[in-house]
């Protein structure tokens, strides 16, 4: 009887085994390689990965996608997921990934030395790799800079309908509002969002670069965007971009109190990882001086490694004080932030 059952199972499984030999998904475990799920877009992360491969001989395989969608995919693939490393652009996604149980704790002396404690998970599930500030841009000819020194001030009715910002579906805006909730509570934040929305010059649309350009073109007098977009414009040799940076000034918000809201990109080793050593090596490389320098110089981000000084065009944007809010709060309040923005009519 058991023989019969066994035969049946073999007949059922054999075709699948043959299939598995044909399809490339089943990779040999011997080649030194690391598989990366990345919410960072290919053109931003690929130069770093190429450098990593050149130095270590480890092949990198990259799959890009939206953070929450990648998380969903990791979850459904379970232990068979080919991913060894998850890289995301927002700390909220990293915290969510830890909570979903798709990341594993890794310990590495190198990582702990390179990355300060506030930029990594206590248990080693994720490590921050670069940071950027969400800051205010303004037209100095139209706006008195003393009127916009804090995020809170942007809700002042006296400011007028001058603000350009992208939609509330954008994770950076959600994180900003989540940080406001963490600092001020839901009620006060909702009142702030209402005032803020009331000062919009136009319906929220487009990406961060467009908000900065709109300030330069005169469509708005105040814009909100991440710091590296301005850095990219500063680095550009296109005369149109140089014209933008000449017309627009940078305001580091809340310098007298908590500091500018920061956004962290980072990564962690997945629960399903088969190439754990290579995965850790990759994270170590990304936190190394050399990679952090590339982050800063080519992507105009701020290094998390304290050994590395910011370089490239962002240096021209000046020194600033950063909000050192506990990053897990951002994830905690994300959904609440979306609801607040819905209620206040921030499309």
């Amino acid at each position: 009887m058991s023989l019969q059952k066994g035969t049946k199972t073999i007949f059922l499984t054999l075709p699948l085994l043959v299939l598995s030999l044909i399809f490339p998904a089943v990779q040999s475990a011997h080649a030194a390689e690391v598989n990366i799920y990345s919410a960072r877009q290919e053109h931003l992360i690929k130069p770093l990965l190429d450098e990593f491969s050149a130095q270590t001989g480890i092949t990198t395989n990259l799959l890009t996608g939206e953070g929450p969608a990648l998380l969903e995919r990791l979850r459904s693939e379970g232990r068979n997921s080919p991913a060894d490393v998850l890289i995301t652009v927002d700390v909220g996604n990293l915290v969510a990934a830890k909570q979903a149980g798709v990341l594993q704790a890794t310990r590495s002396a190198v990582l702990e030395e390179n990355i300060p404690a506030q930029y990594r998970d206590d248990e080693g599930h994720w490590y921050g790799l670069s940071s950027r500030a969400r800051i205010i841009y303004y037209d100095p000819e139209r706006i008195d800079s003393t009127k916009i020194t804090t995020y809170e001030a942007l809700a002042d009715p006296a400011l007028g309908k001058v603000i350009c910002v992208r939609s509330s579906s954008n994770i950076y805006n959600q994180s900003l509002v989540a940080s406001m909730i963490a600092h001020h509570g839901v009620e006060q934040t909702e009142a702030w969002v209402r005032g803020f929305v009331n000062n919009f010059a136009r319906r929220p649309q487009d990406n961060d670069t467009a908000q900065i350009r709109s300030v330069a073109s005169g469509e708005c007098a105040v814009g909100i965007a991440n710091s590296y977009y301005f850095g990219r414009l500063l680095a550009s040799e296109d005369p149109a971009d140089q014209d933008v940076t000449a017309k627009v000034s940078v305001m580091w918000p809340n310098q007298d109190d908590r500091g500018a809201h920061m956004n962290l990109s980072g990564g962690g080793v997945t629960q399903s990882a088969r190439n754990i050593d290579e995965a850790v090596k990759l994270l170590e490389f990304l936190s190394s001086q050399q990679a952090q320098d590339i982050y800063a110089r080519d992507n105009n981000e701020y290094p998390v490694n304290p050994q590395v000084r910011p370089s490239g065009p962002v240096v021209r944007m000046g020194e600033f004080k950063a909000d050192d809010l506990n990053l897990s709060l951002i994830e905690k309040f994300n959904a609440e932030a979306v609801r607040v923005m819905d209620r206040a009519g921030w499309r």
Binding site: A25, V26, A69, E77, S169, D206
Partner: protein, 540 residues
Amino acid sequence: MRIWMFMVLGLAALVAAPILVIMAHLFVPSLEVWQHLATTVLPRYVGNSLGLMLGVGAGTLVLGVSTAWLVSMTSFPWRRFFEWSLIIPLAIPAYVIAFTYTGLLEYGGPVQTLLRETFGWRSAADYWFPQIRSLPGAIVMMTLVFYPYVYMLSRAAFLEQSVCVLDASRTLGRGAWSTFFGVALPLARPAVAGGLALALMETLNDFGTVDFFAVDTFVTGIYRTWLGLGQPAIAAQLGAVLMFFILGLILLERWSRRGRVSHTTGYYRQLPRFQLSGISAGLAFTVCFLPVFFGFILPVGAMVIWTWQTWNFVDPRYLRMAGTSLSLAGISAVAAVGAAVLLAYGRRLVPGKVTGIAVQTASLGYAIPGAVIALGIMIPFAFLDNTVDNLARTLFGYSTGLLLTGTWTALIFAYVVRFLAVSTNTVEASLQKVTPNMDGAARTLGLSAGQTLRRVHGPIMRASLLTAGVLVFVDVMKELPATLMMRPFGLNTLAIRSYELASDGLLKESSSSSLAIVLAGIIPVILASLMIARSRPGQT
């Protein structure tokens, strides 16, 4: 007959599986979130979605039917050029045309800059200019690239219809206009309605354009509820509501057709084209030229210039990405048309409620946003993969890995689920024009059902099958969300490259891959268009 029934039901069940997974989410309790949505954003989603449908529906009907009639039934300068070129805007993804027109018409774009320089205006307050990023803007963009659905299907219908009825109408004293509205249009109605349904479903399902234009619709709401509020179950519920809405549309369309005679005699001869001249010829030329100019020549021209300006962004990997895009689209097109023929034919052979419902369910995928389908496929497929893997591990100590979700299989399956309606609609509309008498004759003469399909229906339906294949092909080339979520490692398509660059604000830089999508899509579109023109039954 039994075997056809089983095949139809089996196929329908397979395709419906992800849809049912989504529907199962309807039972997740969610009153509190729904209340939040209903009091804040839902009215806007519904209003914008309806506005879009009305606008795009009217626009594609007028453009599609008028141009199809003009090139099929009249003769005017450049008619042969328009015959195929009217289809080509279809090769441009709606989001790409939206990027392009925004680049041209926004405040900092060349048009407004030129206006400001010419008239000395200093800021946006000095003059009025229509806002391209708006509901009307989205309607215009989508009309420009979706009207070919109506055009293609109407044209196929006009070509396949017998001239006898038109002659009879003219002989009996009706004029050209009256014949068009009273005879030709009602006869072409299943096809026109099929094309309109496709255009409307594309409209309801579009994410890229409405997101870029800041027009909140049902679909943006689904994404936002899922990714922003972190409520995949509620997102799936919204998806299910959208599906019921589409189902309602389909049923309404079927109901409006009941009792109509939708086939004519099988007698064909050369189409007699009305010779237009003078003003009417000029008018016909203009009517056909405008959609081609604004839907293709102008935006592609801009893309060419931008590609040239950002040449350093073009790299050799484009060739491989183009190859991947083309293979995925080709395989999916063949699979979707094959499945559609099976479904449509099975339904014809075994009429009745059961097959009807099965076919209808299988076509619902088109109503679901790509990301929701991906979700619906990922859950059962990953479960299956993991089950097989666990079995193999326990029995043989060998891991099979992810057989479905880790390979092209799941991705192509997603495309077929998503675009089966495209091919089914086209094939069904065409099959309705094959009179049951022909089946009867073929069967009496000793052909089996399968042989009848191959030797009688096949040749008659060739134009429609090609149309169906091309529609699916182009749709897959343009598809974004499902590809983003389900592609296996190392797979990259042109659509993904274009989208990533554009969404990062590198609009000009994205135009090279957008252009490649358009070029890769355009060749099969033109080829098929030429074949359709030559495929009129009875024509040599």
